[in-house]
């Protein structure tokens, strides 16, 4: 096992620990029943996605200022992993919505803005795929990523700004029993580690792809400064 595989294995093991906590430690919700256990991963992966998109934002800004490919590779990695976690949030949310609301989807502000988030970053990935690799692709995508981040606060605050069917903030309002809260924070920590590892592995893949396409880090205009994988 190389060190990437070791890290991946460790992250997977952590997720198993989180899973155990979710199903064995956390109490069953007396109103919603077992389906409420979706909550932990649903929210954690949303927050992980925010983190990934923050990497895209910071990476994009650094890239535009310094043309440092390292920043751009992190941005690319962040976008892909962020889309994956947004997908998890969406799917989990829809699975939860069916039994609770009676349908997979309603068009409320939280759900819609989350879908838009997914579309924006999928568009980011498409811009990358459809332009010739190199500085231009990186610059254009950076602009898309920076503008796209506008939607992240919209998603987060949608439940307070608009009347939504989706529940409002409960964690910051201390509305959860202690066991649930512990499980939630454990799951969130594990998910964030997983996201960081995924970004890091993906960064490695992007580096190898770049090398194959001779997108060198040879001439950085300013010395490289790496963005944090997850802020």
């Amino acid at each position: 096992m190389n060190r990437y595989e070791r890290w991946a294995a460790a992250a997977a093991a952590l997720m198993l620990v989180a899973g155990a906590a979710i199903f064995l430690y956390a109490p069953t919700d007396y109103l919603q029943g077992p389906v409420q256990r979706i909550f932990y991963l649903h929210v954690s992966s949303a927050i992980a996605a925010y983190g990934c998109f923050a990497v895209v934002l910071v990476g994009g800004i650094i890239y535009l200022r310094t043309e440092n490919v390292v920043a751009d590779r992190f941005a690319r990695a962040g976008a892909l992993v962020g889309v994956v976690f947004t997908t998890v949030t969406l799917v989990m949310g829809m699975l939860w919505a069916k039994p609770i609301w009676g349908s997979f989807w309603t068009w409320d502000a939280r759900l819609t803005s989350t879908l838009v988030l997914w579309i924006i970053y999928a568009g980011y990935l498409l811009v990358r795929r459809l332009s010739d690799p190199g500085r231009q692709a990186a610059r254009l995508a950076a602009v898309v990523g920076i503008f796209g981040f506008i939607d992240v606060p919209v998603v987060h605050f949608s439940v307070t700004w608009w009347r939504t069917q989706h529940p409002g903030p409960i964690i910051v309002n201390d509305a959860l029993p202690a066991q649930m809260l512990t499980t939630f924070f454990l799951t969130m920590a594990c998910t964030l580690v997983l996201a960081a590892v995924m970004v890091w592995v993906r960064y490695r893949i992007e580096t190898l792809t770049d090398e194959r396409q001779h997108i060198a880090e040879a001439v950085p205009v300013v010395a490289a400064r790496e963005p944090e994988p997850v802020p």
Partner: protein, 214 residues
Amino acid sequence: MSLLVGNGLTHWFGRELALEGVDLVIDTGEHMAVLGDNGAGKTTLLRILATVLRPTSGQLEIAGLNAFRERRRLRHHVGYVAHATGLYPALTAAENLEFFCDLQDVSRTRVEEALDAVGLTRVARRRAGELSRGMQQRLSIARAILHEPRLLILDEPDASLGDDAAELLTQVMKDKTVVLATHDHALANRLCPRTLVLRHGRSHGTATRLRVVR
């Protein structure tokens, strides 16, 4: 004094190496021809020198400025004739030039002079899209000299030009530093005292001498 100094210019298109470590020094007022087979990398080199394309690696200095970081400032001094003419087909020949006068911040009186220099005065009021291929090429040359650049990059400027190509280009190149790519050896010999030969993206001929000079 050297106007242009390129150093290890290398460009990869994906996995295709189009230009490999080309060094060149061009003195002020010098005329240099770039020769080479199809696909040798002439256009790639010229696009880099015109600061349209940034090379994968290598340095380029024009008039003492870093050509990649201070592109905007350089553009007053560089004129470029590309393969594609880049004209607005719905505007007349004169209107095309007037528009570029505004962008270049030069007086519109230059339009007439430039049209005259390339022999298009007669068709000044015809739309660019209706001109023949050779006329469009002339118009593209006229646009490149509108702001009287110190450095002129000409990529096959003789393409589709009529019999007067040599005289026209001599006139246009006067008092300017010129890099010219062409397939016409006779023309190259007539217009340019110095020649750079590209083969599979590497420089041969005078270029080898250049390495020593640097």
